[in-house]
Amino acid sequence: MTPRPPTSYWIVFAIVLALLAAAPLVLPPFWQRFATEILIWGLLAMSSDILIGYTGMVSFGHSAFFGLGMYGAAAALVTVKPPSLWLAVLYGLAGAGLVAVFVAYFATRLRDIYFAISTLVFSQIFYVIIFTWTEVTGGENGLTFSQPPLTLFGLHGARFTPVTFHWFVLAVVTLSYLAVRRVTQSPFGMVLQSIRENEPRTRAIGYHVERYKMVAVMLSGLFAGLAGTLYAIQNKFAAPDFVFFVVSGEVVIFNVMGGMGTLVGPFAGAAFFLLLREGLSRFLTEYYLIPLGIIFTLMVMFVPQGLLGFARRALNR
């Protein structure tokens, strides 16, 4: 007897999914790509929500997982001919997973702000390594490669078009969302939320808190790496800018704007932030950050639970 969320949840889910699937059919090319990018950044932000929203650990190091996902995919696409989509995904996940194990092992010994700072420091270490190890990573120029074709069940499919790539990303993101949602509602996920609510008490009732945090960081890192892999495949490059901590900061902002602890909130936050930045930068060029900062500050003051925070209980049922 597995309980089911209310039908209304699935109705909204189906509508949103249909809209996202239909979007590239009606949007002009620029906005097609933009919609796909929102999904990818949303996936990255959702991966970080596992830590921020569910476990109560703020990570400022998600750029490292994302970036290693990118460079992992790049490694597969640069070295293996013909380029393979699934090998790129596998390498991307392996790259991010490796970093995640490293960060999980060391950073989870620290709490609160010390955890946040240590994730930031780790991500900057990886940034410096990637930036300076030019022979392997291409240094500041990064790596470029060609896009692999879509292959399913051993069948050699067609090259991606922007529309089919959007659907591919949508499928990966939807499956990831459903998987992470299930994990957050599993006994394991409930322990993470107990840690968020009261860490010492969670220890006192018999949970080895550090182990749970380690697994949470690794899970989070894997999904962040998946997002990086998708981004690399979309843009046919891997660049050190995406390992830089500014990306990690944006990920936290997506969570705060959209609603932490909801999984879908980070997608809404990413969409809101990226659309706002796109719109503002057209009129204000490099000064767009000023109104963006003001809007963010006002949101933190007046909508502290984020755009979808009001639906938090319904979304976690």
Binding site: S186, P187, Q193, E197, P200, A204
Partner: protein, 248 residues
Amino acid sequence: MTGDAPILRTAQLTVRFGGLTALNQVSLAVPPGEIRGIIGPNGAGKSTLFNCLTGVLKPASGRIVFRGEDITGLPPYAISRKAIARSYQITNILPGATVLENVRIAAQSRHHNWSLLRHYRAYTDVLDRARAVLADVGLAGKEDELAANLSHGEQRNLEIGIALATEPKLLCLDEPTAGMSVAETHGTVELVRRIARNLTILIVEHDMEVVMGLAHVITVLNYGEVLAEGTPAVIQANPRVQEVYLKT
């Protein structure tokens, strides 16, 4: 009760905070099924003793033996697995979770806690255990309320419920009636008496009526040392205890 091997034994337990000796050579032996009262003035080492027994503090020297096993220095989660639970003097619950979830997560710690792919509510054995505990502590009708919204007295009982849900053999209650009304205190005393049928209990309590009524044996701590030990009647008649603690 006499003649049983003690379920809990401490031997020369000593805890120091810098230059201060918070517990000094404390040796206790608690037989199974006993309700042991721990009393003493503020700063006598009662909470330090609990923190030691539950792994929050590591003793400088001495040993803790529980059910024949040396558990000295084990971390809190491991102590909990050995079936020692505690409730806190200052309410220590999951405020943002429902009342049911507070005890469910505690009950879950004995089963299935590494499952990632099934819904937590699919584990009906854990839910049943949690609901039974809520009924025990008188919170059966409050399942879906947020723990933060309970009254103080209800939160105190939830606190005991969380501890009970971990299926302990030894329960350490740190001032379970602190801040309660007379009626609530009465309810909690009844609750402790009820659960004591299958448990060994250590209870720190400032309300003398409560502790004298509940405890089979009382240990008096003063400046981190055992000042006296005996039945409530013996303790009440002890002139030294009266001098340091009971004279009001």
